[in-house]
């Protein structure tokens, strides 16, 4: 992916900048030019204004991915989830800083800024949002036996991304 192609979306991917229809009040992420909710959707043209998401969310569905998307091979197994926000939009993103058995529908999470993927050793590094639990978890604090599932490390936070 070209640098510009990723860079032009940074206000959304870094800061959760969405948009709101000033006609009906519905919030969108990513931002939209036209409101799909307005019955006469033409009325919303040029009435969409910027609107910031709080980053709060709740897991609506999740999967543990073993066959990775390109650029995510080093992160398997990773959790991908549909995260519903109090503002309305639903986002697709990873859930990190959690033991695999702790993931469940209904888990409260908060957006966190992380490295998403890199294009090879010398390629572009992509940053954006992932989600971390924002409530107390049971097994995360329990002693880890040999059969305990691997911790979903957010490796990027510890190496190049934090440099």
């Amino acid at each position: 992916m070209s640098i510009a192609r990723f860079w032009r979306e940074t206000p959304r991917r870094y800061n959760l900048g969405g948009s709101k229809c000033s006609n009906c009040g519905t919030v969108y992420f990513p931002p939209r030019a036209v409101c799909p909710e307005c019955t006469h959707h033409r009325q919303s043209i040029e009435k969409m204004v910027p609107s910031q998401l709080s980053g709060d969310g709740e897991v609506l569905s999740y999967t543990i991915v073993h066959e990775a998307a390109e650029g995510f091979e080093m992160q398997v197994p990773y959790i991908l989830a549909l995260v519903g926000t109090p503002e309305g939009p639903v986002l697709t993103g990873q859930v990190v800083d959690i033991e695999l058995p702790d993931i469940r529908i209904g888990l409260k999470v908060h957006a966190t800024f992380r490295k998403l993927r890199e294009e090879g050793k010398a390629g572009v590094i992509h940053y954006g949002y992932k989600f971390a639990p924002s409530e107390e978890l049971e097994t995360s604090l329990a002693p880890r036996g040999p059969s305990a599932a691997a911790r979903v490390e957010d490796a990027p936070a510890r190496d190049r991304a934090s440099a």
């Binding site: 543990i64 991915v65 066959e67």
Partner: protein
């Protein structure tokens, strides 16, 4: 608008066709269909070719004239149009061919679907096929097509109590059906334990919950129903051809366990044909992932919402009942050459309605349905086909 009939069908074997090129399989299916329709190529008015990603997969765009040329028709200067709608490309091409003949502008057209997925490594194929989801807001965040369908599956399990075993039953069923199909990518039968024990892809979906990457091509010849008897004793009327779209990304749907595009396309198709789901005797439905088939049965109106898991597991769609599902083996066993799938589904249903399906013939097949999906349901295409008396 005039009535449109399928006059001829053709299909290659599906699978890892390493010794065969894209253009070879494309023309094999097309020429079979022309011969089957007893149609002189002089009467042909055009070609519609469904294909998802030839540019990424075989570095070849502009494949409409390529196939036309190697079918020996390059110097006839016929129009050849490629149609793309992700995994629904084939059925979308059929819809275009249907419109062309129904409008009266064209009399006879070939509709083909072809895809060559095994010329690239599996990881590359995963990336290319995942681009039928929203790259910027799903794939960039770690999604693949199976991962997105796994999100549908987990939500379906959460809301309706669908079980892992009920998902696996779909794969067992498909392989049972595919074992009788000489064109199928996989003809081996599967046990429930094999499906449950296969390596995970995106939980709860495992390797055997996912249709394979296949090479393959399929084609049909369409023409006006009024002159169809000149070509065949068993014209198959296209009773409905409906396309519906939805939001590109799964995350923007109101409900994650329903493909609204399928609901709308099916309702419009039944309304157009003045028929109901209970009239359908054979259906080829989108089962790219085991959960896809369960959701499809609900969205097409065959099963009440949320009930597909237990109803499917009862075995009532395996033949001998009112409705038989995926006699070809579906995408899971017959194979998944993306752009060819929607056309191959119609080839199977036509063979069933003609009574030419040999070992896998369904007794009394009268009305058939095909259901093709792109991505996670941004596009759904539904066709109804019936034997014309």
């Amino acid at each position: 608008m005039r009535e449109v009939a399928v006059l001829g069908v053709g299909q290659t074997k599906f699978g890892e066709l390493w010794d065969r090129s894209f253009r070879e399989i494309g023309i094999e299916a097309g020429l079979q269909a022309l011969v089957d329709a007893k149609l002189s190529s002089a009467d042909l008015n055009g070609l519609f070719l469904g294909n998802m990603a030839s540019g990424s997969l075989i570095d070849q765009e502009h494949i409409g004239p390529l196939i036309l040329d190697y079918a020996g028709l390059g110097r006839r200067h016929l129009p050849a149009v490629r149609v793309e709608g992700g995994g629904a490309s084939g059925a979308l091409a059929l819809h275009q061919g249907y419109l062309a003949v129904a409008s009266g502008l064209y009399d006879y057209v070939v509709v083909g679907g072809a895809e060559k997925l095994t010329d690239v490594p599996d990881a590359t194929a995963t990336q290319i096929t995942s681009s039928t989801a929203d790259h910027e807001w799903e794939v960039v965040f770690g999604a693949t097509l199976p991962a997105l369908w796994a999100l549908v599956a987990r939500r379906h399990m959460h809301l309706y109590g669908t079980t892992r075993e009920q998902l696996a039953r779909v794969a067992v069923h498909d392989h049972q059906m595919g074992s009788k199909n000489p064109n199928a990518h996989y003809r081996n039968k599967l046990t429930l334990d094999q499906v449950l024990g296969a390596g995970p892809v995106a939980e709860p979906l495992g390797m055997l919950d996912c249709a394979p990457f296949s090479d393959g091509a399929a084609a049909v010849v369409l023409g006006p129903l009024e002159t169809a008897r000149r070509h065949t004793d068993t014209p198959i009327r296209i009773a409905a051809s409906q396309v519906a779209c939805d939001t590109m990304a799964l995350q923007h749907r109101k409900e994650f366990t329903t493909l609204e595009s399928t609901v709308v396309a099916a309702q419009q198709a039944f309304q157009h044909a003045r028929r109901a789901p209970r009239d359908v005797t054979v259906a080829e439905i989108h089962d790219a992932y085991t959960i896809s088939a369960l959701v499809a049965l609900e969205d097409l109106g065959f099963v009440e919402k949320g009930r597909a898991g237990p109803v499917f597991a009862s075995g009532q769609f395996a033949g001998g009942g009112a409705l038989t599902v995926n006699p070809s083996g579906g995408l899971k066993a017959q194979g998944r050459p993306f752009g060819a799938v929607g056309v191959a589904q119609v080839v199977e249903v036509v063979r069933q309605l003609r009574g030419e399906a040999k070992d896998r013939q369904i007794a009394g097949a009268t009305l058939g349905l095909t259901h093709d999906v792109g991505g996670t349901g941004a596009t759904s295409v539904v066709h109804l086909l019936e034997r014309s008396n």
